[in-house]
């Protein structure tokens, strides 16, 4: 029996992404956000999560995908990091999947751009590919 891992999955511009389930604090619906002027564009705003102020990062912009249409409300995937929680804005939530380590593979060399840095690897599922996000890198914006 090969080792398995659980991932919390979500859709982003038709790509199928996953983050380790243990990193996810909670998933919440769209929240009204407070804009942060002069911040990097992928910082969509601040949300109030039960008294805690959390930065919301738009994953589409973070990964260099085309921006979400105005009428589409994103979901918040709240990630635990060393410096407190951060929310990642995604299009749609998927299930929590248990995948076998055997199907893991590093991202192809031809993958370029921001995605190259942020995608840790790929799980080859039967019907599609699951891209695994490096959460620590994703929430670190200082390199930009």
């Amino acid at each position: 029996m090969a080792e398995t891992k659980q991932f919390c999955t979500f859709l982003l511009n038709d790509f199928f992404f996953g983050v380790e389930v243990l990193k996810v604090q909670e998933v919440i619906r769209y929240q009204e956000m407070t804009r942060v002027p002069l911040a990097p564009c992928m910082v969509r705003g601040l949300i109030n999560l039960r008294g805690q102020i959390i930065t919301a990062i738009d994953l589409r912009l973070r990964l260099g995908l085309e921006p979400r249409k105005d009428n589409e409300l994103p979901m918040n995937v709240v990630i635990r990091t060393d410096d407190g929680a951060v929310s990642l804005l995604v299009d749609e939530m998927g299930d929590v999947l248990e995948v076998s380590e055997e199907s893991f593979e590093a991202p192809p060399e031809t993958l370029q751009g921001q995605a190259r840095e942020l995608i840790r690897g790929v799980y080859k599922l039967k019907e599609r590919l699951l891209l695994i996000l490096d959460t620590e890198r994703t929430v670190t914006l200082s390199t930009l």
Binding site: T34, P37, G45, N48, G84
Partner: protein, 794 residues
Amino acid sequence: MDEVTKEFLIESYENLDMLDRALVELEKDPTHRPSLDSIFRTIHTLKGTCGFLGFSRLERVSHVAENLLSRLREGKLALNVEITSALLATVDAVRRILAIVENTGAEGSEDYSELIERLTILATVDKPPQGPSAQPAVVVVVAPSATAPAVIAQLAPAPAAPVVAAPKVAEPAPEPLKATVPPLAPTPVAAATAVQATASSATKSAEPASGSDHDHHPAEKTETRARGMSDTTVRVDVGLLDKLMNLVGELVLARNQILQLANTYSDPLFVKMGQRLNLITSELQENVMKTRMQPIENVWNKLPRVVRDISTELGKRVKLEMFGKETELDRTIIEAIKDPLTHIIRNSVDHGVELPDDRLSSGKPDVGSLVLRAYHGGGQVNIEIIDDGAGINVKRVRDKAVMMGVLSQDQANRMTDREICNLVFHPGLSTAAKVTNVSGRGVGMDVVKTNIEKIGGSVDVSSEVGKGTMVKIKIPLTLAIIPALIVASGGERFAIPQVNLVELVRMEIGQGNRGVEMIYGVPVYRLRGNLLPLVYLNKELKLESDEEGKQRQPAQDDAINIVVVEADGRQFGLVVDAINDTEEIVVKPLGKQLKSLTFCAGATIMGDGRVALILDVMGLAQHARVISEEHDRSRRDEVPKRAVSSEEKQSLLLFDVGDQRQMVIPLSMVARLEEVAPSEVEWTGNQEVVQYRGQIMLLIRVANYLAASQSAEPLKSKNGQDTMQVVVYSDHGRSVGLVVGRIRDIVQQTLEVKRQVHQNGVIGSTVIQDRVTDLLDVAGIIQQADPSFYKDQS
């Protein structure tokens, strides 16, 4: 029992529990440096605290234990079972004394000379790892008699090697020992054990240990009653309090929503429940807030005594002054700065302030001054400890640092004096010539730094030899609650900390108001004759695109809200769309993704649950380039010039006193304009007064002092219900109210006196708005009405 002692007890019990663990751990791994250091610090703190609380027995016990630990730390001794059990016995002894203190308020009459001797002997035994440097340099005479000074440190001719406390039992010790022994304590055993131990060097362990057990009896019955103190207070993890407060915040929001809902329902039961919920929530919120916030006074209250005791002990005279007692600090911060602050104060008194004679001979008053100051500023809580003592001898610190291998000679030469000063925070570095029981061992300041940095603060020392030393502690506002003004700009809300606010100006366009003027596209506003650079918040923060801004502009043009703020001594005006309210806000930090935004000091959650950013005025000023050194200087030079220029236009207040004459005074002389209802006027003697901001303010009816006033009785007599227009004039904190007829206008104009009169309350006449206008002689009238007004100030 006073509060200081109570806290000391609670804290010491905690520390002792920790000590037990650390000692046992250390025994497992004698080379484990951090636990040795932590034990040493704990004992050091304990000794220090009981020193100023006057528990001399406890102090003696911990002092010898510290000596022993000091030797261990230096590697002069290796830890063995005997030392460990002696140290553990010390911990037990300290526990017993604390129990007695808790029950009786005094430290009792138990005798610990046997334990002291045991520790002393252990510390005396030399196991020189590398030869000659281990010569005992300092002889510490332990004199157990209650009246004698606790410890006398005698400095032997100082060798070049690091000064080492290597205590020896003084020969005459046994004599006073016998004299003070209470009947219950087994003196002969103690003395005998001591002698035995001296004779048989250091290999014994069992007998001294059992010897110390005898001492238990008097304390045993109190032991069971002990800990009563810890029952009345519960120490709560601050993290838990944080969580609690966040949850209460959420509860408040939920309550707000329910209350709104309740308004739409007509069910009386629901409304009633809503109100109940409202009351409970408010009270809960208030109390949870209270658990966290404390004025810094709570820490400072203990300091006068600390200073007094240390200075008395050292024969120094120190005057302690404290400013900003009411500065509120978060519980976390209070806890964290308590010990560092005490340490710094002790250091300042011990090393900073000189002996009275030395002070006199260097031309200073014999009483040293120690100033404590706390304030919110620059988005942080600032605490300054300033003494006017000898200052830090930079050269000596440099030499010592090189000698101890902290720095290479090369490094030391490259460092600035300021950097060298900050070396006092380096562990193990002390320039004190001798080790006293107050300080000088080179621990303490490193603890100070560690503790302050733990809460995200910083500490900085600046010093001038012969002039004094200033220690500046900066602690972030994180979680501190501050009053702030909420403003709106570009559809967003922002909080501006009250400390940065100077005033609010609402400028109506029109009314002969010049409004915003431009210098090469840079907007400025004339505020009482001074140019105030303006910063449009929405443009500065790029809150809206240019077109959006232009579209909105005409609609907004009827009035401009200017928030005058100050950063780094420089004022500028922040133009915002709307000024809301002042609120107490809880400062919350931003995530690391937004750390680079300098204009923003954090965020807060508003009443409706949404997030608002807190503006860092300093950062904003830098961002908008309001602050730059050149600019600053040129402006300062400019100021005096402007003051003498008579051409300068100024704001003038036009009014009358009930007749046709128009009067004027410069607006800069006006503190406020008030309306006073006749019913508020009271009498003292034959003078009319009103209560005004906690003062009794004299009212002067200007009309009575003007020559032509008889013909025109003031308006108020025609209609008793009319409110009186009062121009408040303040000088040196005292105010008088000038009762005038009607305020007519405020104009911007040069004040050019066309005709000098100087009589009947008028200095001269001028022409304003095509009317002859008399310039009121404010000083003269006040002089007549209340001759004491100016006299009292001089």
